[in-house]
Amino acid sequence: MAEPVLEVHDLHVTFTTEGGLVPAVDGIDFAVAPGETLAIVGESGSGKSVSSAAVMGLLPSNAEVTGEVLLDGRELIGLPGDELRKIRGNDIAMVFQDALSALNPYYSVGWQVAEAYRLHHDVSKKKAHQRAIEMLDKVGIPDAVRRADSYPHEFSGGMRQRVVIAMALVNDPRVLIADEPTTALDVTVQAQIMRLLDDVQAEFGTALVLISHDLGVVAEVADDVLVMYAGRAAERGTVRDIFFRAAHPYALGLLGAMPRVDVPPKPRLTTIPGTPPTPGSITTGCPFQPRCAYTHLVGERCITERPELTPRPGEGDHEAACHLGRRPEVLL
């Protein structure tokens, strides 16, 4: 792997709420290099979106963030607001899940893309507008010159997401964080948007952090995968490590829950039994233990001792946090 542009070490995010301290992210590490794609997968509430917001410094004031977030080796945590503001949208940009609510309904899309540019470049409004049109054209908005004056509600879902991507890429960022960029879209449009992200990544050499729960998308575009569960890393490795050599029962469960066209359909979709723990409710043992089908193979340890990431066979840094040392064969 090339020299990473974004590195996250031992990231913890704790929210202070009326009910006490809630650890949403409990020590995760990841890194992504220029031109590469890291996928962070997990269920809702696993801490994937909170992690990305922490990297952007966009968490509310009741969140405490510790650990290291390094952009080209520069620590971002604890940076004064003004310094961080210069990085946001310029070096690290973000694409959101729901483009309709992510765009300001009161301003034309051209204005919004131009604003992103003007916030980081000292240029005239006219020049910024030209740059916005150029960018809208690049992400595949037909008739960009005219459409730049349209408002978000006048676009289809897919076109809106293209606008959001144009806005994110207008400053040629080093890192792009896409938080479930295709979840709100039709399946056919999803493929177009993923292809667009893939294209711009290839063109600009952007490092992409893709937050998703769509393993089909992940298999197609990711280089590395981080599987999160209850605010912690359950497993990480290259995309082939995860899809062919998954070692964590949770990762296996996710893969098993994915409908496939190449095997005969089952009468019902496979699910992982139970629900994810609420943050902070698991204090000892493995957070996945209550839902795990393999606990009986290990025993007491799953309840008393929290598993750490340990190396597994694979292409590189394949690691899983499971007491079951070998790969569970039962499901396969």
């Binding site: 503001r85 949208g89 916030l119 509600h153």
Partner: protein
């Protein structure tokens, strides 16, 4: 823009129908009151003969419907009361004739309007600025001392009667500190400085009273607005907090504020009754109260209809401003 013109024409036509229905209702209500304006005009002692004469002259001997139709005719073509040398003309648009004041109602309203408009418009500008800025400050400092302070001001403002605050202001600033004139009105055309100087106390009093609802509306609206996704987008683009609030947040806040403002201003232009009384200013409110006291039904009907017209006009203006503020309205 032709869209806008068409919209205005349609609305004006609707307004005309509303005014027509309203004038009938107002007419019937005020002419149904068991009091006889002719008896007042007739003086004492009043012989049955003279009373009948006065009735006929004031056209009160006609049926109510006939009187209403004469009133409508007067609006478009003018009216004449009596005949010969004693005839009284009321030119179109004639909204009735005040026999106690011996003037057409239209003239009376137009004479008094500058006073009321001066009070209302000046106060409106003040309370809008005061209310919105305090509301924004309160929202940004939610739960802290500035927020509590702004809410406290709002609570005092909303629960203080205008005559109390007005009299207190006159007492303190007019008499004790001798800073401002205690009453009277100087036309703007005579001396703009004296005009403003005489109006400053009523402006401030009205502004404090009215700003209360604007503080609370702006605060709650801004708090809601700041939780929206596009605010996060603005931060993710690298916008500073001031820009986030003023450029991205305020626009959505202004939509309901404009609605409230239009109706408040429209209502106030129809006569700030208590304020005018307290500050001894002869505006529309004063005209109305005096007319009620002297059973001058023509004036009461005229001023009531004029106030209603202002409210309808305010609604129309609010709708147009909505279109300008929110592209989802104008670019439907």
């Amino acid at each position: 823009m032709p869209d806008l013109a068409w919209f205005v024409i349609r609305r004006l036509f609707g307004a005309l129908l509303v005014m027509l229905a309203l004038s009938l209702a107002v007419y019937l209500v005020f002419y149904a009151i068991p009091a006889d304006p002719a008896r007042l005009a007739c003086g004492k002692p009043c012989t049955p003969d003279r009373l009948e004469q006065a009735r006929h002259f004031m056209q009160l001997d006609q049926s109510t419907l006939q009187q209403y139709l004469s009133f409508l005719k007067g609006v478009f073509a003018g009216r004449t009361f009596g005949d010969g040398t004693a005839a009284v003309h009321c030119n179109a648009p004639c909204f009735g004739y005040s026999f106690p004041l011996a003037r057409p109602v239209t003239t009376l309203i137009l004479d008094r309007l500058p006073v009321t408009a001066s009070i209302a418009l000046g106060a409106a500008v003040l309370w809008l600025l005061l209310g919105v800025s305090l509301g924004v400050i309160a929202a940004l400092n939610r739960g802290r001392i500035l927020d509590r302070l702004a809410i406290g001001v709002a609570l005092v403002g909303v629960s203080t009667p205008s005559f109390l605050l007005g009299l207190l202001a006159i007492l303190v600033f007019g008499f004790w500190l001798n800073m401002v004139p205690v009453n009277g009105y100087v036309p703007f055309t005579e001396s703009p400085v004296d005009w403003a100087w005489h109006l400053i106390t009523p402006w401030i009093v009205l502004a404090i009273l009215q700003a209360a609802s604007y503080i609370r509306l702006t605060r709650s609206q801004m708090l809601e607005e700041l939780n929206l996704d596009y605010i996060t987008t603005a931060r993710a683009k690298g916008a500073g907090e001031l820009r986030v609030v003023l450029t991205h947040g305020l626009r959505g806040v202004l939509v309901p504020v404009v609605t409230l403002f239009g109706l408040d201003l429209g209502g106030l232009l129809g006569g700030a009754i208590l304020t005018e009384k307290v500050f001894s200013m002869q505006g529309l409110g004063d005209l109305l109260i005096t007319a009620v006291g002297s059973l001058d039904v023509a004036v009461v009907v005229g001023v009531t209809l004029f106030s209603a017209f202002l409210i309808i006009l305010a609604n129309l203006v609010v709708d147009i401003v909505h279109g300008l503020l929110d592209p989802r309205v104008s670019h439907g």
